[in-house]
């Protein structure tokens, strides 16, 4: 059974989220304070964290940083503010996705959670190479010269999406659909922030990326090391 940890200080909303998720066959662990979240997380590691930004005790963005420091678990931020700063702050702290309250539909929430939990690229076997990196899709590992680089599942999916079609230029919309499962989203902040986080982990020089290359005005593509 899948376990989702819901961190939200609004009792009623937490209860409602619990009803909706349980109805979809997902177990729920409810936490109402930011400073309690990490302890609950350690005691009973969930498959996904649903994290509100504004929390008593400890700010949601801080909680996100703490969890990300010790786990690659998918994190979805919940925010009452759709403004750039809040969302970008959350994403930069390591969140994979975000949802702005109020959600359109319970099924939207469930769909987002399922997208983040799904096993992707099960059709690909063996090794993919991008630049000087080797990607073992089945084992969910990225290796440089035999050493593993720790990526979140989302970062891994992003890298695989680019690597499996080297040379193809992906628009941000295409990546949103491929990696996040959005069909009609124009929120390119998600892509931009995660590309930056990914680059920080895999590029030799994040300022001059050679593996995930920006194609101005279009999007990104997998670069060939040395002659991008």
């Amino acid at each position: 059974m899948t376990l989702v940890m819901v961190v939200d200080d609004d009792q009623d909303l937490s209860e409602m989220l619990g009803i909706v998720l349980t109805g979809a066959g997902i177990d729920v662990d409810l936490v109402s304070r930011g400073d309690e979240a990490l302890e609950v997380f350690r005691n009973n590691p969930p498959d996904l964290v649903l994290l509100d930004v504004m929390l008593p005790g400890l700010d949601g963005v801080e909680v996100c940083k703490l969890i990300r420091a010790e786990s690659m678990v998918p994190i979805i931020m919940l925010s009452a503010r759709g403004d750039s700063q809040d969302v970008v702050r959350g994403l930069e702290a390591g969140a994979d996705d975000y949802m702005v309250k109020p959600f359109k539909h319970p099924s939207e929430l469930v769909a987002r959670i399922r997208t983040r939990l799904r096993r992707t690229n099960t059709d690909i076997s063996g090794l993919l190479t991008i630049g000087d990196l080797a990607i073992d899709v089945a084992a969910h590992q990225v290796l440089r010269a035999g050493k593993q680089i720790a990526l979140t599942r989302l970062e891994f999916d992003l890298l695989v999406a680019l690597a499996k079609e080297p040379g193809r230029v992906f628009s941000r919309d295409a990546l949103l659909s491929e990696v996040w499962g959005y069909r009609h989203s124009t929120d390119t902040r998600l892509v931009n922030v995660h590309v930056q986080r990914l680059r920080a982990k895999i590029e030799h020089d994040a300022e001059r990326p050679e593996i995930v290359v920006t194609v101005r005005g279009v999007g990104y593509k997998a670069g060939v090391l040395g002659r991008s």
Binding site: D10, M16, P102, P106
Partner: protein, 516 residues
């Protein structure tokens, strides 16, 4: 010349200095010429008096000595005459050169001629009128003349003449000529000094005026500079007040005004910040309960088949109204961001044609329901712009659904035109249209075109005002045209780069298909 004139008009100091100098120049000229003429007259008078006294005594003395020579020989008489001339020309009390001229009176028919003049003086120096005057007068006669020297120069002089009788030779006229060269030199010297003093005075006055004016003008200049800073929004600076005169009163009044302005503005800013903060907080606070509401309403709605029809319909209505409530909340929040001027432009590069087509496709079903369609005409296959895609999409969706609402089952034409610096999207419907009075209200908040008309999307009444704010945030413009029964035309013009400003209208607001 023009620049000097404009500088003159533009500078108070220069104006005051120039007018002071010009006025004092006039006064000094008047005073100087009065002084000059007084001095000239005085000097001439003194000179004349001493000359008359000297001439009188010399002529009397000459007459006396000539009388003593009565009855002597010709040569003796001539000797006396020469003596007289010698003593007269050497008897000098001042350094003025003097000459003596003896002229035979007209009517003296004696053969012996004693006419003589000292030092090569030309006897014609004595004008006829003086000669006549001497003959008729009993006393000496005086005239200013020009002394001419034979083969020499002319000098100004004074001639004093009287009749003398030379023994055996009858009546003669004796003239004493005084040179006025020295007197004139003195007068010229005095004139030069006067002129020099005047010039010096004028320069001095100009300098003093400049110093005085500077004291007045400096604070005025400071005030104007600080006022300019106020206009630019900087209220930090104050005038220096050091004395207790009228200028410092101005300075104090100015500083008090600045103080009060600064306070007022700060108060207003704070008030509006509090207000906007409140609106924003309210909107955010509403979101969490709204989320719970939505989730629970959806859970209820999803099992409405199990309810009786009245409860089921109520559940449907609840879901629909929650939708509407949420849109209203979002629009209010957006408006509060514009009002607080915290709306941020998140510009990226994208293809406008693709975006327009996607928005049109998304509204395909809604258009079909209303028996209309959206036809996109683009000048190019791809028009890349640098703009906030979320906002541009919102503008387009607003314009499209607005057109669908009012299209009256006629197709809607969407045109995309791109220039070198600007792009434009025109949305033309041929439906109910707008009259002149509604045209000016169309972008007002919560304005509704026709209260009797239903709205497909249950619009919030804020859509077009947000669209206009979004366009302006891009330095673009959104304009509306309409005629009752002839449809409406909305034109969005944006700079290709949102940092620039638009400098053209690529699509005419009044559509080409319409003729008055």
């Amino acid at each position: 010349m023009n620049t000097i004139f404009s500088k003159f008009r533009g500078s108070l100091a220069l104006k005051v200095i120039v007018s002071t100098v010009v006025l004092s120049l006039a006064v000094i000229l008047a005073a100087g010429s009065a002084l000059n003429s007084q001095l000239t007259t005085g000097i001439k008078k003194v000179n004349l008096q001493s000359s008359i006294i000297e001439a009188r005594s010399t002529i009397f003395n000459a007459q006396y000595r000539l009388l003593l020579a009565q009855g002597q020989r010709d040569s003796e008489v001539r000797k006396v005459v020469n003596d007289v001339i010698a003593s007269a020309t050497s008897l000098s009390t001042n350094e003025n050169a003097r000459e003596v001229v003896f002229l035979k009176s007209p009517g003296n028919s004696r053969k012996i001629n004693y006419e003589i003049a000292s030092n090569l003086v030309d006897p014609t120096s004595i004008p006829m009128y003086l000669s006549n005057k001497v003959r008729k007068a009993d006393d000496i006669s005086i005239s200013y003349i020009t002394i001419k020297y034979i083969g020499g120069s002319d000098v100004p002089g004074l001639a004093i003449g009287d009749k003398v009788t030379i023994p055996n030779a009858g009546q003669y006229e004796m003239y004493m000529l005084f040179s006025l060269v020295n007197q004139n030199t003195t007068l010229t010297l005095i004139q030069n000094y006067l002129l020099l003093t005047g010039l010096f005075l004028v320069i001095l006055i100009g300098l003093i005026t400049w110093l005085v004016v500077r004291q007045v003008v400096r604070p005025v200049r400071q005030a104007s500079r600080i006022a300019t800073q106020f206009t630019a929004g900087d209220f930090s600076e104050r005038m220096n007040v050091r004395s207790e005169d009228e200028i410092s009163t101005l300075g104090n009044a100015f500083n008090e005004m600045a103080e009060s302005l600064e306070k007022q503005i700060a108060r207003l800013e704070n008030l509006s910040r509090v207000q906007q903060r409140f609106v924003s907080d309210v909107s955010h606070e509403l979101r969490t309960p709204l989320t719970t509401l939505r989730l629970s309403s959806e859970v209820i709605n999803s099992s409405r088949q199990e309810f009786d029809p009245i409860v089921a319909r109520s559940a449907e209505l609840m879901v629909a109204q929650l939708d509407r409530f949420e849109r209203l909340l979002q629009d209010l929040l957006e408006i509060s961001r514009f009002d607080a001027e915290v709306a941020v432009l998140d510009a990226t590069e994208f293809d406008l044609v693709t975006l327009v087509q996607r928005c049109a496709e998304d509204l395909l079903l809604v258009a079909k329901e209303r028996s209309t369609e959206l036809r996109v005409y683009s000048i190019a296959d791809s028009v890349v712009v640098q703009a906030d895609i979320r906002r541009v999409e919102r503008i387009l969706r607003n314009l499209f659904s607005n057109a669908i609402d009012h299209a009256e089952e006629k197709p809607i034409a969407i045109t995309i035109v791109a220039g070198e610096f600007d792009v434009a999207v025109g949305v033309r419907d041929f439906g109910v249209g707008l009259d002149a009075s509604t045209l000016i209200q169309v972008f007002d908040r919560f304005w509704r075109g026709d209260p009797s008309r239903s709205r497909t999307h249950g619009g919030t009444g804020l859509g077009l005002s947000i669209a206009l704010e979004d366009a302006r945030l891009h330095n673009g413009e959104l304009e509306a045209w309409g005629r009752p029964g002839k449809g409406a035309h909305f034109v969005l013009t944006l700079p290709r780069n949102s940092m620039e400003i638009i400098n053209s209208r690529l699509i005419k607001l009044q559509p080409d298909d319409y003729h008055e």
